[in-house]
């Protein structure tokens, strides 16, 4: 009886672990996307951060960078801030309050959903954004973070 319970218990644990693993592998990592023709297929994390914090406003070839974000309560916005920029969402919000009201920076453009994000990235030259799923689209390039 005791043995049966332990084996039941261990199989339950194994199932749970498998479930968790499959859930986490399904959970999509947020990826940075840019408009093609590409600036770079590989970008430094520090550079992405500088772009999203308004410090870098031009691509190295001199063209204008247009920055897109999702709504601040969108889960993929939150994961982008935490995982890619390595900041807390409140830091990002406060930094932009400071930059935009002093004229030192121009706020990123907010889009409502990932479909709109893809459309903007595909059509606006110099655009940068992020998405939590890999959808291939003409004019959209996925960036590898170094």
């Amino acid at each position: 009886m005791y043995r049966r319970i332990t084996s039941l218990y261990s199989s339950l644990v194994i199932t749970l672990v498998c479930l968790l693993v499959s859930v986490s592998s399904n959970a999509n990592q947020v990826q940075v996307i840019t408009h093609t023709p590409p600036q770079n297929t590989v970008m430094l994390r520090t550079q992405i951060k500088a772009i999203y914090l308004g410090q870098q406003t031009q691509w190295p070839d001199g063209s204008k960078i247009t920055v897109f974000i999702l709504n601040s309560n969108d889960p993929s916005h939150q994961s982008f801030i935490k995982e890619v920029l390595e900041l807390y969402p409140y830091q990002f919000r406060r930094r932009w309050q400071k930059l935009s009201y002093s004229g030192f920076g121009v706020k990123p453009t907010v889009v409502n959903n990932k479909e709109e994000m893809l459309l903007k990235i595909a059509t606006v030259p110099g655009a940068i954004g992020y998405i939590d799923e890999r959808i291939m689209r003409e004019g959209v390039q996925y960036v590898q973070i170094d």
Partner: protein, 419 residues
């Protein structure tokens, strides 16, 4: 009212020319996405238990209305123009100002370095909060820590007309940003009263350009930052002598030199800020004389005041995010007018007008709450407990009769709508 008209005199032509420039740009639909606008409106209520800090009378004041309108226009990939007009009814001061209007030219942009120039009226990035000290949604409390962000000296630090160079360098060990600004700040009537009190009438001007310098270092993870700022404002004074004045004051000059160290640490649900300032102050001139009496018959007066001191100020602030919408804040700050006389006793003993020792320092405990109701609406609520009046009678204020209470409190609530 006169003040308002005088300010509009500068503001209106500036606005008008801005509008003229923007009409043909905006009327072309292709240009619309190059334009972005923003702003806010806010209204608050302040209750001051004693002393004259906010409004003419103690007690409750509704004279806390602020509004701004701001616009950016991208002229080319590297040049943009930004401006903001601001209306501010803040206790005793009512003003409409061109808060900033500048051309921003980003002349270097590589994978690791950015550099640019700003030209025009530029906000001063001094300390953690000066840049947005008048923006309700971008400050930690309605009243910034007064030990560092003295409202009575705000003219010298708010913005300057001049030129600024800025840069950002990214290394694997972290991120270095710096800027150097060279310009003239704008003097308002408020500065004169703040420094000399209401009894002496006259004009302040800015004899020399002020230099503002700031370096900021952040590690790659961005969980803390440290910055060092420097500024050296000067102000010179010339009395407006009335025919009834029994005694006159010769022209004089103030020089400040300020070093400000700022530190901020960020955790998931809280952040901690510490700022420490050392300020050197000196003055020249300000000798007393009897009007219409030849020099050889003038008695040998001591100067009205002679400043040569070093003073330190600091505050520590802890903010805790109770939820995404609610932030709780605790702060302690201290200000002294003179490091050699921290409790003001030497000053009080030597004072001919019986100025109290507590007029030379201030200790402040503040607690507050921000409630971000929605993306646009926010409410701020706070209480300040003060010991001493150093922050409201800082320098030489001849008349301290309005600030008679050693212990005093300030309570404030403000609602703001930002867009």
């Amino acid at each position: 009212m006169y003040k308002l008209i005088k300010n509009h005199f500068i503001l209106l032509p500036a606005l008008f020319s801005l509008a003229l420039v923007s009409i043909p740009l905006v009327s072309n639909a292709n240009n619309l996405d190059k334009l972005s606008i923003g702003g806010f409106v806010s209204q608050g209520v302040v209750h001051t238990s004693d002393n004259q800090f906010f409004d003419e009378n103690d007690d409750t004041s509704f004279n806390m209305t602020e509004a701004s309108l701001q616009a950016n226009y991208q002229l080319s990939s590297s040049v943009k123009i930004s401006g903001q007009v601001m209306y501010r009814n803040w206790g005793k001061i009512e003003s409409s100002v061109l808060d900033y209007l500048m051309l921003d030219y980003s002349f270097l942009s590589t994978d690791t370095t950015n550099m640019g120039l700003r030209l025009g009226r530029i906000k001063n990035d001094f300390g953690l909060y000066n840049l947005t000290r008048d923006i309700p949604s971008a400050r930690p409390s309605i009243f910034l820590p007064q030990s560092i962000y003295l409202d009575i000296l705000r003219d010298t630090i708010t913005a300057s007309d001049g030129i600024s160079i800025y840069a950002n360098h990214r290394f694997s060990a972290g991120n270095l940003s710096w800027h150097f600004t060279y310009g003239l700040y704008n003097v308002t009537d408020d500065l004169i009263v703040s420094i000399l009190g209401p009894t002496i009438k006259g004009d302040f001007s800015v004899p020399e350009h002020t230099r503002y310098l700031k370096f900021t270092w952040e590690p790659p993870q961005g969980d803390w930052l440290i910055s060092l700022g420097y500024s050296d404002p000067t102000a010179s004074f010339e009395q407006e002598l009335a025919s009834t004045d029994q005694i006159g004051v010769t022209p004089g000059q103030f020089n400040y030199e300020s070093y400000l160290l700022s530190y901020q640490y960020y955790a998931e649900n809280w952040d901690f800020s510490l700022e420490y300032e050392r300020k050197k102050t000196d003055s020249s001139g300000f000798d007393l004389y009897i009007p219409n009496v030849p020099e050889q018959f003038q008695p040998d007066f001591p100067p009205l005041f002679k400043l040569k001191n070093v003073s330190d100020a600091f505050y520590g602030q802890w903010r805790y995010l109770l939820s995404n919408e609610l932030t709780f804040m605790l702060r302690y700050g201290r200000f002294v007018s003179d490091n050699n006389d921290k409790n003001g006793e030497k000053f009080a003993a030597a004072s001919a007008i019986n100025a109290p020792a507590f007029s030379r320092y201030t200790k402040t405990f503040t607690t507050g709450l921000n409630w971000q109701i929605s993306e646009h609406w926010r409410i701020d609520l706070e209480a300040h407990y003060f010991e001493g009046t150093g922050i409201i009678s800082p320098l030489v204020k001849v008349d301290t009769s309005q600030n008679t209470s050693k212990y005093w409190q300030l309570f404030a609530i403000q609602a703001s709508y930002s867009f």
